[in-house]
C-alpha cells in the first residue's frame, strides 16, 4: 500500500493506494497517529485508490478517531468504494466516520 500525504493550510490529506490490511496497516499507523496533535486536528482520508480494507485497517482508523476526539478534531473519509463502505456499515462505523463523495466535499465538511 502507498500512503501519500499532503497538507493544505491546516488540513492533512492522506491518500491511500492499494490494500489496507494486517500487512500494511502498521505503515499507516506510523504515519497517521503521530501526525495528530493539538495543532493538527483536521484529517481527510482519500480512499479513491484504496481497493480493500480489513479489521486491521479499521483498528488504525479507530485509533486515529479516538486520538482526534481528545483534541476536538475531525476525520472525514472520501471517495470510498461500495465494497469498502459495506465493511464500515457492517462494523457499525458509519456513525463514527463521516463518508463523503469526493475530496472537495470532504474539505467543505471539515471546515464547517
Amino acid at each position: 500500500m502507498q500512503v501519500n500525504i499532503e497538507k493544505i493550510e491546516n488540513i492533512y490529506i492522506f491518500s491511500l493506494e492499494g490494500n489496507l490490511d494486517s500487512n500494511t496497516s502498521g505503515d499507516l499507523e506510523k504515519k497517521l497517529i503521530p501526525a495528530i496533535d493539538p495543532n493538527n486536528t483536521k484529517f481527510i482520508l482519500d480512499f479513491s485508490a484504496l481497493h480493500y480494507i480489513s479489521s486491521a485497517g479499521l483498528r488504525v482508523l479507530l485509533g486515529a478517531a479516538k486520538k482526534l476526539n481528545q483534541f476536538g478534531g475531525k476525520l472525514i473519509l472520501c471517495s470510498v468504494k461500495p465494497d469498502i463502505k459495506e465493511v464500515f456499515e457492517i462494523a457499525g462505523l458509519l456513525p463514527i466516520f463521516p463518508i463523503v463523495d469526493d475530496p472537495e466535499a470532504a474539505a467543505q465538511k471539515i471546515l464547517q
Binding site: 490490511d21 494486517s22 500487512n23 480493500y52 480489513s54 457492517i90 462494523a91
Partner: protein
C-alpha cells in the same frame, strides 16, 4: 476446467497476500463477481491473520493449507492448520453500536466474516483445526 485449487503457506503475515491473489485469479477465471471476490479476500485475510497472530504457542514454522473450491451454487474455503484449537464461529460478538470511546476492535474481523459469508463450520481433530466457510454464489 479445474474447480478447486490448493495453496500451502507458512505462518507468516506477508504470505496471506499470495493466498488472496491466487483465490482472486482463480475466481476471475470462473467469472465469480468482484463483490464476492472482495468478500473472499476479507475472509481469508481475517482468518489467516488470526491464526498467524494468535494461534501458536511457539515461534516455530507451521504450515497452513487452504483449499478453495467452486461447487454448483456455492464457493467453499477450507482452511486446515495446527494452531491452538479455536472456533471463530463461537467467538463473542463485538458491540457494533458502542460509542467511539467504548469501541473495541477485538472480534470485529470475525464479526465481518460471519455477516458476509453464509456459513462457518469449525472442527478440531488430532491436533488439526478445520474451518469451512461457504458463500452462496451463481457463476457461469
Amino acid at each position: 476446467m479445474k474447480t478447486a485449487i490448493e495453496i500451502t503457506i507458512k505462518n507468516r503475515i506477508p504470505e496471506i497476500e499470495h493466498v488472496c491473489d491466487a483465490v482472486a485469479e482463480f475466481s476471475r477465471k470462473h467469472n465469480v463477481a468482484d463483490k464476492i471476490i472482495f468478500t473472499l479476500h476479507l475472509a481469508i485475510d481475517e482468518i489467516l491473520t488470526n491464526i498467524i497472530s494468535y494461534g501458536y504457542s511457539d515461534p516455530n514454522e507451521h504450515i497452513i493449507n487452504i483449499c478453495y473450491s467452486l461447487q454448483k451454487d456455492y464457493l467453499q474455503l477450507k482452511i486446515i492448520d495446527d494452531s491452538n484449537p479455536y472456533d471463530p464461529a463461537a467467538a463473542p460478538e463485538p458491540d457494533v453500536e458502542a460509542s467511539l470511546e467504548d469501541r473495541k476492535i477485538g472480534g470485529l474481523g470475525i464479526y465481518l466474516i460471519k455477516n458476509m459469508m453464509d456459513d462457518i463450520k469449525y472442527s478440531s481433530e488430532s491436533g488439526k483445526n478445520t474451518l469451512v466457510l461457504t458463500k452462496k454464489c451463481d457463476y457461469t
